[in-house]
Symmetry: C2
Subunit: 328 residues, 2 copies
């Protein structure tokens, strides 16, 4: 188990029993009568990762003094939606390795990966329709729509080296931060009411999630596959211009900018991320991007000030540090 | 406009105002602030086809004397789910032409087709969470799950020439008939109660939908692309052994069986469907498959006997004939 994962498990200590119930729900949910489906869900069960998003539902609930019997089901639903996006993302990215387990689309094919993702979404929605309040279905249906729009906008913005930072953040936010925000809002508000607190916790989740995505984008251009445990350099391969690259491009003169564009677009070029590091002062872009991530985490943590001190609140605060320090 | 489409429009006459409201809801739903998404939804709006499933919601409601202001929204939701499965199916099938408009995955790429399908599912679920009763969300989440399982099972059963008829029907039913059943059940029952009538109308939809799928499978191996307006022969290309082929295979001697397997599997063979027609007595399999479709429609129509005579009931009956007679 990676250091990061051990650390997240420790941070989630205050909600360990809820996490256990969440995993039980996930296990039950992924059991299917159909043998072909079971093979795949068994496989997907093995790359569930740190379950941060599910953890956020439970921690936000605890920290807000809002805990119900249904919170662990909501955590499971959020994780299922995250799993569905991962499975469909593997089709999108052509990523070869995710968390050191072969991706679904490597072991089977694109067809099946599409269907498995659809199946996970459907299970998530079916579970949510069984909850006593409709708040979860409502927030997560809208969140899923926003995730799709974010992904589509990202695909439409490939090779756009002049994208304003605000557009990058809107897209990365819709793609990633949105589900963090939904997890925190649901934790704090479910089954309903508490609009003010919900808005604040949603904003906390959004900022935390956006910082997480920025760090992800930094790791993609700087880390080795061995450290991260999944394919790296895929953003450059896919023509995705992320924040560290946008910042490096902005700071570069026209000659270096041309070199950056060349690295992204020259047909058949192998190892684009390594070439990118040679072509420009990427470190400068990385430093500025990480600065932005730190700013976001600081803003997120300030939102917790209104909550009473508790182990859960402390855990949310530590997640802020984790997001900035993680290496995988 | 094709003869089939004109006929369906005429059959849906008794619910024409509801169909108009359904189309309004679809139009509103497909409008998105994001330009990239709007481009795609504009495109998808053009291949909406006959909207039979939405029509079934409205006709079942009318025929059961169960009409609400929300029926046309439910019809739109059912159509959105159908559209989502079509978009993802185009990835699956590698189909080149659907309803004479380039498929999403031809105009853009697989990535975007996955996302657009996800977006349509998400919109459908978001719409359903705004309805006054949760029955629609519940039935459609479960239906979507079954559709996915059916598709996955179908992928796992490729090149299985010994598949029992019951397994073919279970898979084709989950893949197609399931959404027909849900449409009819929701029409008759929404917002709730009426379990007995719901079961009967669900069974009507299931049988009608299964007959529809069998005829679809027959057209795929017998029709020309020009008649059907979408790629034909794709089942044979994809290794899908459908009912007419199963029946032809069952009736064949070992020599002919080997020839059938050869047509499905020889690498690089062009025009497999045409070769299949030469390799075996496909007509015999087709006749038996169409016989089964007729049986299903007869059983479906018998279920309408309990409903009072009305233009809507007559329209449901005519849809039975249409399913058997359609050529596209």
């Amino acid at each position: 188990m990676s250091l990061d994962r051990t650390r997240v498990e420790r941070v989630l200590g205050p909600v360990a029993p809820g996490m256990e119930r969440m995993r039980d729900v996930l296990r039950e949910t992924l059991i299917e009568a159909s043998g072909a489906v079971r093979d795949m869900t068994d496989h997907v069960g093995r790359f569930q990762g740190k379950q941060l998003r599910g953890g956020l539902v439970l921690l936000s609930g605890e920290a807000s003094g809002n805990t119900t019997d249904e919170h662990s089901r909501i955590a499971a639903i959020v994780e299922l939606i995250h799993l569905a996006t991962l499975v469909h993302d593997d089709i999108l990215d052509g990523a070869k390795v995710r968390r050191r387990v072969a991706c679904v689309n490597e072991r089977w094919d694109n067809q099946v990966a599409v269907l498995l993702g659809d199946f996970l979404y459907a299970r998530a929605f079916a579970l949510s329709t069984d909850l006593s309040s409709r708040l979860c279905s409502r927030i997560l249906a809208e969140t899923t729509r926003r995730i799709c729009v974010g992904e589509i906008d990202q695909a439409a913005s490939r090779y756009d080296f002049e994208m304003p930072q605000a557009r990058y953040e809107a897209i990365a936010g819709a793609k990633t931060a949105c589900l963090y925000a939904a997890a925190c809002e649901l934790g704090a508000r479910y089954p309903g009411g508490h609009h003010e607190l919900g808005r604040e916790m949603s904003a906390f989740g959004w900022e935390l999630g956006l910082a997480f995505q920025i760090v992800d984008d930094v790791l993609d251009v700087t880390a080795s596959e061995d450290e991260v445990g999944k394919s790296v350099g895929t953003d450059v391969e896919d023509g995705k211009v992320t924040l560290p690259v946008l910042f490096a491009y902005e700071a570069a003169d026209e000659g270096v900018r041309a070199a950056i564009r060349e690295v992204f677009t020259r047909p058949g070029l192998v190892g684009r991320a390594a070439h990118l590091r040679e072509a420009c002062d990427l470190e400068r872009g990385v430093t500025r991007a990480l600065g932005r991530a730190e700013e976001l985490v600081a803003s997120a943590l300030a939102r917790l000030a209104g909550l009473p001190a508790s182990p859960a609140r402390a855990a949310l605060e530590e997640l802020g540090s984790f997001v900035l320090e993680r290496r995988s």
